[in-house]
């Protein structure tokens, strides 16, 4: 517990020697209070350590192994592996007709969705934090997406092929009859010659607003909790000094909440990568349990996918930590 002890552990890898001294009796560190506390603490997190080694590291290694091997099912129910260099990765990236394409489209969708979700959830959280009639009712409804967008629920109706067909038809009907407001607006604006690509993205967001609201349940809660932790006296002081609401939003609200942007950004990326209606995940599942039972390629695909996800989280973290620092 002492400060001296804490100082030693500035890096995770510094702890190995101390670990040995603290856990193995027969030296003078072992009997100290710090060592006793350390042992108790380790006992507390022991379930996690066991689980991590047996149900995470071992399967991960196994899956990595599979992704580097040609895996064939034996008749008795076992596996046979034959080293085939990086053929599985090569197959996934270069030969498989869909994987590349799905990966790119999903990443594109993710980029837009993450930004839109962050903005949307922030705006909604700011509004829900204000005082108005029916606020509690609104809160109840806005957290419903936490329930309604979990697990099977979002994918189940769209995974029905017939449904897709039907919605395509109804879309085309709407387009031809001109009921679709956003499409009409888009036509108008694109005629007037404003940068059309930007508008494409914006209209995509507007059309997907239902998905975005459904995906931002947790994010709204996180932002709201951040907003509620800002002390009201800050706003009072700003008001007394003649700050307008707009100014105090940018000078108080935004900097105070911006650390939560990182949490939300990471959460949104992960959430998006693991969603049931994600086509890459569908493809991986099909390759694994479909007709071919191609475990090697499926593992390679999921490793590529995991790598991409990790890269995106890294990039997101980098950008946001930079952006947030500039506000301080």
């Amino acid at each position: 517990m002492s400060k001296k002890y804490r100082k030693i552990h500035d890096h995770w890898y510094d702890g190995i020697k101390e670990a040995l001294m603290m856990y193995i009796p027969g030296n003078k560190v072992f009997g100290t209070m710090a060592a006793r506390r350390a042992r108790i603490g380790t006992l507390f997190i022991l379930p996690f350590i066991i689980g991590f080694i047996f149900f995470m590291v071992r399967p991960l290694i196994f899956s990595l192994q599979m992704s580097l091997n040609e895996v064939t099912l034996k008749a008795g129910g076992g596996f046979e592996m034959a080293w085939n260099k990086f053929n599985n990765y090569h197959y996934a990236m270069a030969t498989d007709p869909n994987f590349n394409q799905y990966l790119v489209t999903e990443i594109g969708r993710m980029g837009i969705n993450v930004i839109a979700t962050l903005i949307m959830s922030f705006v909604i959280a700011v509004i829900l934090n204000q005082k108005f009639k029916g606020r509690i009712f609104c809160r109840i409804i806005f957290f419903l997406p936490v329930i309604l967008s979990s697990g099977v629920l979002p994918g189940i109706e769209s995974s029905n092929e017939f449904y897709n067909m039907m919605s395509d038809i109804s879309n085309s009907v709407q387009n031809s009859s001109g009921i679709n407001i956003s499409a009409t607006l888009e036509n108008l604006l694109s005629v007037s010659g404003v940068a059309s690509q930007v508008f494409d993205v914006i209209f995509q967001m507007i059309d997907a607003i239902y998905d975005i609201v459904m995906a931002s349940g947790i994010q709204i809660i996180v932002f709201l909790s951040g907003l509620q932790s800002i002390s009201p006296s800050l706003y009072e002081a700003a008001d007394v000094e003649g700050c307008s609401g707009w100014e105090s939003f940018w000078k108080i609200t935004f900097p105070m909440v911006s650390p939560l942007l990182l949490v939300n950004c990471i959460y949104t990326i992960i959430d998006f990568f693991m969603k049931n209606d994600n086509r890459v995940i569908e493809l991986i599942n099909n390759t694994m349990y479909g007709v071919k039972l191609n475990f090697g390629v499926a593992s390679a695909m999921s490793w590529i996918y995991f790598g991409v996800a990790l890269a995106f989280i890294g990039v997101g973290t980098f950008i946001i930590t930079r952006a947030v620092k500039s506000y301080e």
């Binding site: 002890y5 552990h9 890096h11 995770w12 890898y13 702890g15 190995i16 101390e18 670990a19 350390a38 603490g41 380790t42 006992l43 507390f44 997190i45 379930p47 996690f48 350590i49 689980g51 991590f52 149900f55 995470m56 399967p59 899956s63 599979m66 129910g77 909604i124 509004i127 204000q130 108005f132 609104c138 109840i140 409804i141 806005f142 957290f143 419903l144 936490v146 329930i147 309604l148 697990g151 099977v152 629920l153 189940i156 029905n160 017939f162 609201v213 809660i221 996180v222 909790s225 509620q228 939560l260 949490v263 992960i270 049931n276 991986i284 999921s302 995991f306 996800a309 990790l310 989280i313």
Partner: protein, 335 residues
């Protein structure tokens, strides 16, 4: 009389004050009114958007097949029927699968929350070697998509063995695939559905409790375990409850883990996702043949199943939303 007087007074007072502030007061009133109207419109729109699919599902669930294809009917069915519910209940094996889901969800979330609470307390209050490394591992399990390791886990549990013990005693490894054991084991060791997130949330909470509370207990001669159970746990109840609720809800609708580990139990989510494939057989008169079910009809039945799946959760949520929100207010704020 006095009330009327007061209102007259206040209105004349308002104009008087407005005159004195050179129209500033009026402008401000109008501005705030405009803002609140805009806000009300936005909120109404968004709330409506969230609720609307549920309303549509409900009204659709009461329609007969004829009403479904009638383009003049939008929300109110002409021929109200409850037969659809019976069909869906048959298709999803309703009361049984729901009860299965209920007790499995309770067991699993209890395991998850117990394990996560212990681990979170360990992370929040103790200094031990490699702490940063292990916490990085917690973040890692949040990030790793479970799909990456699903096959490997499947194989691990198909021939389950703890360091060759079972092989020595019984001659072959255990097959745990269709039992609840693997999943309970995973939940107890924090590797279940979104378990890393619960550790993170609870750790954040435990860190926010002042250390002096525990120190006082230690000074009075309380043991570590005693302090944990008598002092930390009672205060943490709301946060733990909200973790339990999250876990429960996610488990209720989970497809991934149920499909991989709980093949022996018919859970509602799995029944729901495979419902479409059973429709053809159900609607044909002959048990050995299947017919093609019209698109709209199958969609209608699926959305009824979704509705049935959501209703218990929504009811649960309405009663517990205070716990959901307030405890998150406490955990999320500290970075």
């Amino acid at each position: 009389m006095s009330k009327k007087n007061a209102s007259v007074n206040s209105s004349s007072d308002f104009w008087e004050r407005n005159r004195r502030s050179e129209g500033y007061l009026l402008r401000r009133r109008i501005k705030s009114a405009c803002i609140s109207i805009a806000r009300a419109l936005l909120m109404f729109g968004l709330c409506f958007m969230i609720i609307q699919p549920m309303i549509t599902r409900f009204s659709m669930s009461l329609m007969t097949e004829r009403d479904l294809y009638d383009s003049t009917i939008v929300l109110l069915p002409r021929h109200v029927t409850l037969e659809n519910y019976k069909i869906v209940a048959d298709l999803t094996d309703f009361p049984r699968s729901m009860l299965n889901t209920l007790w499995i969800s309770i067991v699993i979330s209890a395991c998850q929350v117990v394990a996560a609470t212990l681990v979170a307390y360990g992370f929040a209050r103790f200094e031990f070697p490699l702490k940063k490394f292990w916490f990085a591992c917690v973040v890692l399990i949040i990030i790793i998509p479970p799909q990456t390791i699903q096959t490997a886990l499947y194989i691990t549990f198909a021939n389950f063995d703890i360091m060759g013990i079972f092989k020595l005693t019984t001659g072959k490894a255990l097959n745990l695939r269709s039992s609840l054991v693997p999943y309970v084991l995973m939940s107890l060791t924090c590797m279940g559905l979104k378990n890393g997130l619960f550790i993170y949330m609870l750790r954040q909470y435990f860190k926010s409790v002042p250390e002096s509370l525990e120190e006082a207990a230690y000074v009075d001669g309380c043991s570590t375990l005693h302090t944990f159970f008598k002092i930390m746990l009672p205060d943490a109840a709301p946060t733990i409850a909200s973790c339990f609720l999250f876990s429960f809800v996610w488990q209720w609708t989970d497809l991934f883990y149920s499909r991989n580990f709980l093949t022996g139990y018919k859970t509602y989510a799995v029944q729901m996702s495979t419902m479409a494939s059973r429709m053809g057989r159900y609607f044909s008169k002959d048990a050995n043949q299947s017919i093609v079910v019209p698109n709209g009809r199958s969609l209608q039945l699926i959305s009824i199943a979704v509705l049935i799946c959501c209703v218990p959760l929504i009811i649960l949520y309405c009663f517990t939303q205070r716990t959901f929100v307030e405890s998150l207010t406490m955990t999320g704020s500290k970075e």
